[in-house]
């Protein structure tokens, strides 16, 4: 009878767990579909457009063609060795999914595969988090962590439907790798560490952030060794992971020999060596007396440190090891990028995180997180060290760069789930009540256990409470105490259930309002209040695609490079791959100089059209004039004699566009293109820029002689200008425009100019 009840309970447990996991999957996917429902199935933002374009290429070509893809439609005239400079994991995965679906009779459009890629993988991330947390604590904590992971905004921000970016798959792989690593580390299982290595390889193929794993796992091992927790399990897990993982990761063309050459990977190599030495030391320790062993230990430590550090310096100095990359420095010194590499600093997601963002992205998890870390300290098993290391390291990184919030989020979920689950273990346990009413004197089996474990541990606030509650209930069975205990438990668990409810509410709200806009399409309202969209970007890109020559070259700031490549299908000068700072500086210089210089510079680069984003009509603040200072700074870095940031500010030192703007500013191409014929929208004399709240007059703008307007979108957000063809009489385009204007104004005066009679060579 009892056995039957037990099996029935087991089955019920499995059933509930399955239902919960399926619901978590459902929640993870459905909460990411806001943008599809509200807008459409569309690729979001900037980088995903490149990934989408690359995926389309992979689907229509063979894999080897993809790896050898030289893209001559970007970075004109340099081109980009795309196949060798991307992480192919994302595209390969979606191509495999696409082919797989076709083979089972579901010929889904590749765009839909890409759009729904991130939500689907978010479900798997939740699953991996569940497994991971189960290794840290138990299944209950696992379910909580999975639930958090499924809907936490910090992760949703990079994985809504349409945000087809490397991160979409990378976080899943990150959690899978860590999950297998913990499993391997706990058991020493070679199978699990091989899986960890394979997922690590997958991660390397998918995201540049793999370096985080490359450093975190060795750090974990290193700390364990320092704590004197070395064990043969650790040895087998780490060596297996490192060897297979490193060799596998070197198969990715973009990574190549980096794992043995770049400084970012040296820690892993060092720890690999260290593990060997510690293993050897352990062996020796088992065979010699401890006194002698101490001598051996100290001697060898000194030798190793000296040889290791000097060797590292030597190899770096000799150039065998690549020096640290700029992005790495900017991790430690937040001002580094701004001074040395403005292009990195110009990206908004590389900015330091604002404090409210932590709460916005994690809500109540952010304060449960330290509590969880603290509770982990109390337990401090080997796997807990991993979570603690991860938390500390990532908290710092997330503070430095906004985008690294993403890697912090999983561990926040895990720690918070750990804390909450510990709490719920005690406060949600009403079995006692049931047992006192059912069988008055019989102690429930969980009771002494809970009390026992609580007493064993060093005192903490919560465990003290626990022990107090537990002992009080076990010592006296008076109904008053029991009643108080129930009240306490109800109060505490009720509070936290309310927090959980609030968390779900917050997550849904944040996802719906902040993270579900495709940024290609902006929501707006019709005059009658019905929802409408502002579709200027696609309008202009589509115009380019339909009405310009197929080989036309478009110059625009690099932000729009991927979108132009993806939507307009035209050749661009620079794009979001920012691999060549000088090339970007050329475009920046063209935008920042006067129109005649810009014209010659652009013509020298075969440019046909210039595209600028202008938000003055609509009040769209992310426009090119607001990014203009970065263009100036980046080009100033290359041509400090020609472009000077100071000259773009008004006399009072302000960044202004109205009459008080400096003449350099007013003469810059960006200024002219942005405001060209802008006042005509108003009374024809002055226009009001709604972004900068400044008045622009006709005189500020002057004339545009070297470019002609080719297209302006409905709300003026995208303006496309065509470079005028050179005058067929060889005249200066400025003079031609002036002459034409005078003629059209009816000025009869003929300018008789003394011809320039110098010798033409």
């Amino acid at each position: 009878m009892k056995a039957e009840v037990h099996t029935a309970l087991c089955w019920a447990r499995v059933l509930f767990k399955t239902i919960i996991i399926i619901s978590i999957f459902g929640a993870a996917i459905s909460s990411r579909l806001f943008s599809v429902i509200r807008f459409e199935s569309i690729i979001h933002e900037f980088d995903p457009w490149f990934n989408f374009r690359a995926t389309k290429y992979l689907v229509s070509h063979s894999f080897y063609e993809f790896l050898n893809w030289f893209d001559d439609r970007t970075w004109y005239p340099l081109g980009r060795v795309t196949g060798g400079t991307l992480y192919p994991g994302l595209m390969t995965t979606s191509a495999v999914i696409w082919h797989g679906l076709r083979n089972i009779g579901l010929p889904v459009d590749i765009r839909n595969v890409c759009v729904l890629f991130a939500p689907a993988f978010a479900g798997f991330t939740a699953l991996a988090t569940y497994e991971f947390t189960r290794e840290i604590k138990d299944a209950n904590a696992g379910l909580l962590a999975a639930g958090f992971m499924a809907i936490v905004p910090g992760y949703i921000s990079r994985s809504v439907a349409g945000s087809y970016d490397n991160e979409a798959i990378a976080i899943t792989l990150l959690m899978l790798t860590f999950m297998f690593w913990i499993k391997a580390m706990k058991t020493g299982s070679i199978l699990h560490s091989t899986f960890a290595a394979l997922f690590y390889f997958y991660m390397v193929s998918a995201w540049g952030g793999y370096v985080f794993i490359t450093n975190l796992i060795p750090l974990h091992v290193f700390i364990l060794i320092l704590m004197g927790r070395y064990h043969s399990r650790l040895y087998s897990a780490y060596t297996t992971w490192y060897t297979i993982g490193t060799i596998a990761s070197m198969q990715i063309p973009f990574v190549g020999f980096l794992p043995i050459r770049s400084n970012d990977h040296m820690a892993a190599l060092g720890v690999f060596g260290l593990v060997q030495l510690v293993g050897l030391g352990n062996y020796i320790k088992g065979n010699v007396s401890s006194k002698r062993f101490k001598v051996v230990l100290i001697l060898s430590l000194v030798v190793i440190i000296v040889v290791g550090v000097s060797g590292l310096f030597a190899i770096t100095f000799l150039g065998y090891i690549a020096p640290w990359t700029g992005r790495f420095y900017s991790l430690w010194d937040t001002n580094y990028a701004k001074i040395h590499i403005p292009i990195i600093a110009s990206v908004s997601e590389h900015q330091p995180t604002a404090w409210p963002a932590f709460f916005f992205d994690n809500q109540f998890l952010i304060w449960l997180f330290p509590a969880g870390v603290f509770l982990l300290f109390l337990d401090l098993k080997d796997e807990h060290v991993f979570v603690i290391t991860y938390s500390v390291l990532c908290s710092y990184f997330a503070g430095v760069m906004v985008r690294l919030m993403l890697t912090l989020t999983p561990i926040i979920c895990v720690s918070a789930a750990y804390a909450l689950s510990k709490l719920f273990d005690v406060y949600l346990d009403f079995s006692e009540l049931w047992s006192t009413t059912g069988a008055a004197d019989v102690l429930t089996p969980s009771d002494p256990q809970a009390a026992g474990t609580a007493e064993k541990r060093p005192p903490s606030k919560i465990s003290a409470n626990v022990s107090a509650a537990a002992t009080s209930s076990s010592s006296s069975s008076s109904s008053r105490n029991g009643f108080l205990m129930v009240i306490t438990k109800l109060l505490v668990s009720g509070t936290f259930l309310f927090y959980l409810w609030l968390f779900v509410y917050h997550c849904t709200w944040v996802t719906s309002t902040a993270y579900s806009s495709p940024s290609v399409v902006l929501p707006s309202r019709n005059p009658d209040g019905s929802p409408a969209v502002i579709d200027d970007f696609r309008e202009a890109y589509y115009w380019l695609r339909m009405n310009t020559d197929e080989d036309a070259k478009i110059a625009s700031w690099w932000d729009y490079g991927y979108q132009i490549g993806g939507m307009a299908d035209r050749t661009t000068l620079v794009d979001n791959n920012t691999w060549n700072n000088t090339h970007i500086a050329i475009v920046g210089k063209a935008m920042a100089t006067s129109q005649d210089k810009a014209y010659h510079l652009l013509r020298a680069h075969d440019v046909d059209y210039v595209l600028v984003i202008f938000g003055g009509v609509l009040g769209f603040s992310g426009d090119d004039l607001n990014k203009f200072l970065w263009m100036v700074r980046i080009s100033e870095g290359i041509w400090p004699d020609e472009i000077k940031e100071r000259e773009y500010f008004s006399a009072a030192g302000d960044y202004r566009m109205d009459a008080s703007a400096s003449s350099t500013m007013k003469n810059s191409l960006m200024y002219k293109l942005s405001y060209y014929r802008f006042p005509e929208l108003f009374d024809g004399q002055q226009g009001f820029d709604r972004v900068r709240s400044q008045t622009i007059t006709v005189d500020d703008i002057g004339t545009l002689d070297y470019f002609e307007e080719a297209f302006t979108s409905e709300n003026w957000m995208v303006r496309i200008f065509k470079l005028k063809s050179p005058d067929h009489l060889g005249r200066n385009l400025h003079d031609v425009a002036k002459l034409n204007m005078e003629q059209s104004l009816g000025v009869k005066k003929r300018l008789v100019k003394k011809p320039v009679l110098d010798l033409r060579v």
Binding site: F39, E40, S41, I42, R102, I104, G105, L106, P107, A532, V533, D535, R538, E539, Y541, Y542, W543, R545, M546, N547, M567, R677, F678, E680, L681, E708, E709, A710, F711, T712, S713, E714, W716, K722
Partner: protein, 468 residues
């Protein structure tokens, strides 16, 4: 049965591809055009020519073949050519003749053989009406205009009948245009067209020898876009399970109107409120959908276009940008109707679907159209007929969702040179779709899922554990 009622009017669609039948010799000139009245209607974006002829057999034998001639450039772009005998109230067979005659002083000539259902005795006269549209010889004049200035179109066409036969009396009229006037040419600086109200009249011109060549250029004001669909891919999916017929149309459109002189200035366009005024630019399309259509969509290559509206069975589309002369746009629209609206069954698992050939906008010329009908997997095509003779029919299969065996049966019909009038025309497809085939599909799907689940179950049974 429905065919026979509807195919009472045989209209011939011309296609340069389908030529190549008759002998190469110039046909005998055994007719005489007693009267030849030609009315060119330029109201739409393509000229519509209606010809009223009185012809007389001047040969010695009864004759039933009349050769109508067209300049090659017109022939290549001609659409919906029809010939009728008004006295007998019948339409007659008229088939394009491949042979083009090259003459020294002129362009190539193509013949169209008009075959009367009876013979016309010598010296007898008969009235013959010919109707066709074409899209040749029309261009904006001047080619570049400024936004806001009215657009002039120039139609260059043959002034004289250009006939194989001698013409005794010839009249030419241009109607439907605003401010019609003749443009002097190099050869003929005399302008002998007379404006009579809104009609520009030439003639009567008497005694024109065969193949006399003379061109005339006429301009008129036209404040409307000249929409031309370069390519139309129209896919029609018939589903018996859902009882729906789904239409999916991909259009490649251009506007043949005058181009903008100085590029497109949004400021000027907004200031002048041109979006509300008629002009040679295209602001939107009006699609004529079948009654009671549902589930509409409007997309292009970069995603959904939100600017469309459905008002009863009209679908108003606004392209992403106004289409000025020489600009291009392409888009896809689609909708769903109930299958019963288009399907008739004779009960014995045989069906006849009558499908409209076009649902596009009015006043539009189509260079090329591909109409594909997708029948359910396992259907068998018995017959395909149309009120427009179809030139090129292709049958194939295509795998769509849950097509686990042979795939949807696909029939593609290619048609060149269509005009919006073809909306009235139908395509009839008769096919067999057995109950067995209909139920095979869900059973197939179920079997696959079953196999997948079972294999998963058995794979889970395998024990990979190393330790005992």
């Amino acid at each position: 049965m429905i065919f026979f009622q509807l195919i009472a009017t045989v209209i011939l669609l011309l296609s340069p591809l389908s030529c190549g039948l008759l002998s190469s010799a110039t046909p005998k000139a055994n007719w005489e055009n007693v009267e030849f009245k030609r009315i060119v209607n330029v109201l739409k974006s393509y000229p519509h020519e209606s010809l009223e002829l009185v012809i007389k057999n001047i040969g010695s034998t009864p004759e039933s073949h009349y050769y109508f001639t067209l300049p090659e450039k017109v022939f290549k772009k001609a659409s919906i050519f029809s010939a009728s005998l008004p006295d007998h109230n019948i339409y007659v067979d008229s088939s394009p003749d491949a042979e083009s005659t090259v003459r020294e002083d002129s362009e190539d000539i193509r013949y169209i053989l008009v075959q009367f259902p009876f013979e016309v005795a010598p010296d007898q006269e008969i009235r013959l009406n010919i109707n066709f549209m074409h899209n040749a010889g029309l261009k904006p004049y001047p080619e570049h205009i400024q936004l806001g200035t009215p657009q002039n179109l120039l139609l260059n066409t043959n002034k004289l009948p250009h006939s194989l036969y001698r013409t005794l009396k010839y009249n030419l009229e241009f109607v439907g245009g605003q401010g019609l006037s003749e443009v002097p040419t190099f050869q003929d600086s005399s302008s002998d067209g007379q404006l009579d109200g809104e009609v520009l009249k030439f003639g009567p011109i008497l005694n024109i020898e065969p193949f006399t060549q003379s061109n005339v250029s006429v301009t008129y004001v036209r404040e409307a876009p000249s929409v031309r669909v370069i390519n139309l891919n129209r896919n029609i999916w018939i589903s018996h399970w859902a009882n729906t017929i789904q239409f999916d149309e991909y259009y490649e459109v251009t506007n043949d109107a005058a181009k903008l002189k100085d590029g497109f200035s949004r400021a000027e366009f907004m200031k002048g409120q041109y979006a509300l005024k008629p002009g040679s630019y295209l602001i939107g399309f009006e699609m004529m959908l079948p009654e009671e259509s549902t589930d509409h969509y409007y997309t292009d290559l970069v995603g959904m276009v939100s600017t469309y509206k459905i008002i009863s069975n009209h679908m108003f589309l606004k392209p992403r940008y106004p289409l000025f002369g020489g600009w291009f746009y392409n888009f896809t629209i689609g909708w769903t109707n109930e299958l019963s609206q288009f399907l008739h069954t004779d009960g014995a698992e045989q069906y006849i679907a009558s499908i409209p050939i076009l649902n596009g906008p009015l006043d539009t010329f189509y260079d090329h159209a591909n109409i594909s009908i997708y029948l359910p997997e396992g259907a068998e095509i018995l017959d395909l007929k149309s009120t427009l003779p179809i030139s090129n029919v292709n049958g194939s299969t295509e795998h769509s969702f849950f097509d686990l065996s042979s795939g949807h049966v696909k029939v593609t019909v290619e048609i060149n040179n269509l005009v919006d009038n073809a909306q009235k025309a139908q395509l009839f497809i008769k096919y067999k779709y057995s109950k067995y085939m209909m139920y095979r599909k869900p059973i197939n799907i179920a079997a696959y899922i079953f196999v997948a689940l079972m294999s998963f179950f058995f794979l889970k049974q395998i024990n990979f554990r190393i330790d005992p």
